[in-house]
């Protein structure tokens, strides 16, 4: 009897093992065949799924990664962060409120209809129509009228001179959609644009598939099929990259950096980026308007020590307008209050800042928690009492918007790469209660931000932005923790990836090596 049991156990174990073994040896040969046979399918691992595939109806980076390959904007920022025409041919400003934009001719949408001035008017009118409830309707807020002059000329009049207008037009949410397709189908599910890739399919939660647009004006992309695969766990995405199931990942977190850099089949790339992370006090509370309080906070924080923890994925600069953003001047790099813990201690003691416990609000994602822990320890060293309050993203946004905190960390991705588009939403009193979570209301700063927005003279704009930046640094309005470094890891059988400072990338020129 005993022997029978043992025999049965052995047989079942052997069967299970052989089943696994049999399946697996085949899998390895399939995989190796796949690599050599179809280098056309190129897979990108996305941590989140697209919300939708219409540029008008979305405002998240996962959706934008797809839509930017299907649709195109009138202008775009190049890798050097300069604005250049894309669907536009040229533009002129007969006066400060008028933008006459000439469009490129002979471009067709993927549904075969013509790209022309009507399409531009249709897209922008839909984007700004309150009935659409577009998340980025604000891109068109300064626009007064849009007129079709002829088939390939549009005249846009703004309500006031609007300096960052070209930056707004280069935003992925201002991409031009096919009016015919938009009236016929839901572009959020079946997108139709003029871009280098055409939509094939979308399985929500799983993957979006695009194919090369054979009629693209610069020639069809070399990648025949691109898959945006949802892989929510970053370590799984790296394993897939290592195993050759995925060819490209971006936004490599600092703690996984050494693993990715150690992969033999992968080229790791990093460039200075536009996103930034900063610490702010709650400016709506009277006790935090005391200049010495903000000085004490800024003096207590050793930003160099924090940036070192990021393994090279952070840039140290005091400047609130980052090195890759329009309006930045090098002189601002060291214009902030330097780290001086003794000075901080002195101010804390003198003003009795150690009597009250400060609530440091932080979101529970990315580097936020690390920042909170480091800053809590550094502030404690200077004598402050700090309690961390961690929240998930949705609750965090609501709490920060409502100003229910003492200190908090905020971030901004600076997709348009323009300083006005950073300062206006985050620090202008117009936006307190919504995007201005710092709760700052400073008439002097408001005026400089307004000036930077309401002139189309780019030199003057740069000057206003610099003045605003210097004012904020002088007043310790925010303490920049770091400016981001944008990363990408590409299977080394491929080359030609274009990576932009705002974290976006373009696959249209990627080819096999």
């Amino acid at each position: 009897m005993k022997k029978n049991w043992l025999l049965l156990f052995t047989i079942i174990t052997a069967l299970l093992l052989s089943a696994c073994g049999g399946a697996s040896s085949k899998s390895s040969s399939d995989a190796s065949e796949g690599k050599t046979k179809i280098p056309d399918t190129f897979t990108y691992a996305s941590l989140t799924d697209a919300v939708g595939l219409s540029p008008i109806m979305t405002n998240d980076s996962a959706s934008a990664n797809v839509t930017e390959h299907v649709y195109e904007t009138l202008f775009k920022r190049n890798v050097d962060n300069e604005i250049e025409p894309l669907l536009a041919e040229s533009y002129e400003n007969p006066d400060e409120n008028t933008w006459i934009i000439k469009l490129k001719k002979g471009i067709k949408f993927h549904d075969g209809t013509d790209f022309n001035a009507d399409a531009v008017k249709y897209t922008f009118d839909k984007l700004r129509d309150p009935k659409t409830a577009a998340p980025r309707a604000s891109l068109m807020a300064p626009v007064d009228t849009i007129t079709v002059v002829d088939d390939y000329t549009v005249e846009i009049k703004t309500k006031y001179p609007y300096g960052p207008f070209l930056a707004a037009l280069s935003h992925s949410n201002a991409a031009i959609v096919s009016p015919t397709a938009d009236q016929k189908q839901d572009l959020n599910k079946e997108p139709v644009g003029t871009g280098p890739f055409k939509f094939v399919s979308w399985t929500p939660g799983d993957q979006v598939v695009l194919e090369a647009n054979p009629d693209y004006r610069d020639g069809a992309p070399a990648l025949k099929k691109v898959v945006f695969k949802v892989v929510p766990e970053v370590s799984t995405a790296i394993s897939m990259l290592q195993a050759g199931e995925v060819q490209f990942i971006d936004k490599v977190p600092a703690e996984q950096l050494s693993r990715v850099q150690g992969l033999k089949n992968v080229n790791f790339e990093k460039i200075e980026g536009t996103p930034e992370y900063f610490l702010t006090v709650n400016h709506s509370k009277p006790e935090f308007q005391d200049p010495e309080f903000k000085q004490a906070i800024a003096s207590a924080i050793d930003r160099d020590a924090f940036v070192k923890k990021l393994n090279g994925l952070g840039i140290r600069s005091d400047s609130i307008i980052g090195p890759k953003v329009f309006g930045y001047k090098e002189s601002a790099d060291k214009a902030g209050t330097p780290y001086d813990v003794d000075k901080a201690k002195e101010l804390v003691k003198k003003n009795g800042y150690d009597k009250k416990t400060l609530k440091l609000l932080t979101a529970n994602r990315g580097n936020y928690v690390l920042m909170a822990e480091v800053v809590q320890a550094q502030l404690a060293e200077a004598g402050f009492k700090v309690e961390i309050e961690t929240m998930e993203w949705a609750a965090f946004l609501e709490t920060a918007r409502a100003g229910k905190y003492d200190l908090t960390f905020l971030s901004w991705s600076n997709v348009t790469g323009d300083g006005s588009e950073l300062l206006y939403p985050n620090f202008h009193s117009d936006n307190v209660g919504s995007s201005n979570m710092t709760q700052l209301s400073n008439p002097e700063l408001d005026k400089l931000i307004d000036q930077s927005r309401t002139t189309t003279d780019q030199k003057a704009r740069e000057e206003y932005l610099n003045q605003a930046n210097e004012l904020m640094l002088k007043e310790n309005t925010a303490v920049i923790m770091y400016h981001d470094v944008v990363t990408a890891a590409l299977d080394n059988k491929y080359t030609g990836l274009e990576l932009y400072p705002n974290g976006k990338w373009d696959l249209s020129k990627v080819t096999g090596k």
Partner: protein, 313 residues
Amino acid sequence: MVAMIVRRLFQLLFLLFGISFLVFSSMYLAPGDPASMIGGPTATESDLNAIRDNLGLNDSFLTQYGHYLASVVQGDLGFSYQTRQPVSEAIAVRFPNTLKLAIASMVIAIIIGIFAGLISALKHNSWLDVSSTTFALAGISIPNFWLGALLILVFSVNLQWLPVAGLSDPWFTVEGLKQMVLPAITLGTGSAAMIARMVRSSMLEVVRADYVRTARAKGVKERNVIWIHTLKNAMIPVITVIGLNFGALLGGTIITEKVFAINGVGRLMIDAIAARDFPMVQGSVLLVATLFVLVNLVVDIVYTYVDPRIKFQ
């Protein structure tokens, strides 16, 4: 029996009504604004208001809940705030993945669990028993995210036997089966361990029962004593554990789905909660609750087959 089933299904309606109210009110009261999750940090107040108007979020709680209930009664689970996709469509895409993963894990769990439990009980206090109980303890203690990551590293990255992630190919294809192996083992281990422990303790109890001694005394073959007289009677608590585990697996397994990039109900639910996508949360919770009740109903019916003494009034 039929009356019992009808009664239980009737109770299910009340239960679902209660759950929908609880979920709706907790999502309504929880901090976080669906509009700001759609608009993102860049949205201005006027953008947010337009979104809120569009979704009917400016209405009172009762109006919102009333609208929701009215459409659910008509079989319409509503639209996702985020993707504007019908909730039922989103669930229909994910549920097959959750179902096949749950079935595969349960098959693994039942085979390993019953086998290990039986050996453990029959070879009580032997080295086989010790190793089996050690396995059970380890199976319950090892967290899924760790086991999943470990299996990926060993079998997918180093040995390259199995794919790292995904579950999109049909289960009856070689590729589909291969995709299922690692997540099913990851999920099945915990359930296997629970089943093994239950089989062991239940068997040890039944093996000492008088009727088993009588059966042996009558000269019934040992094999029949084990399989017919003992195991079948020891199965009642085991079936309960299997039912509960299967119900939980059908509710989606967030961590395993995340580690293996599986497009299942668990991930749908957690993403919807994070995005404050109320209709999607409601829809998936109602689905999970219904499945849980149905699985338990099936378990109750199975009881009557395993033990004919059990009768439903």
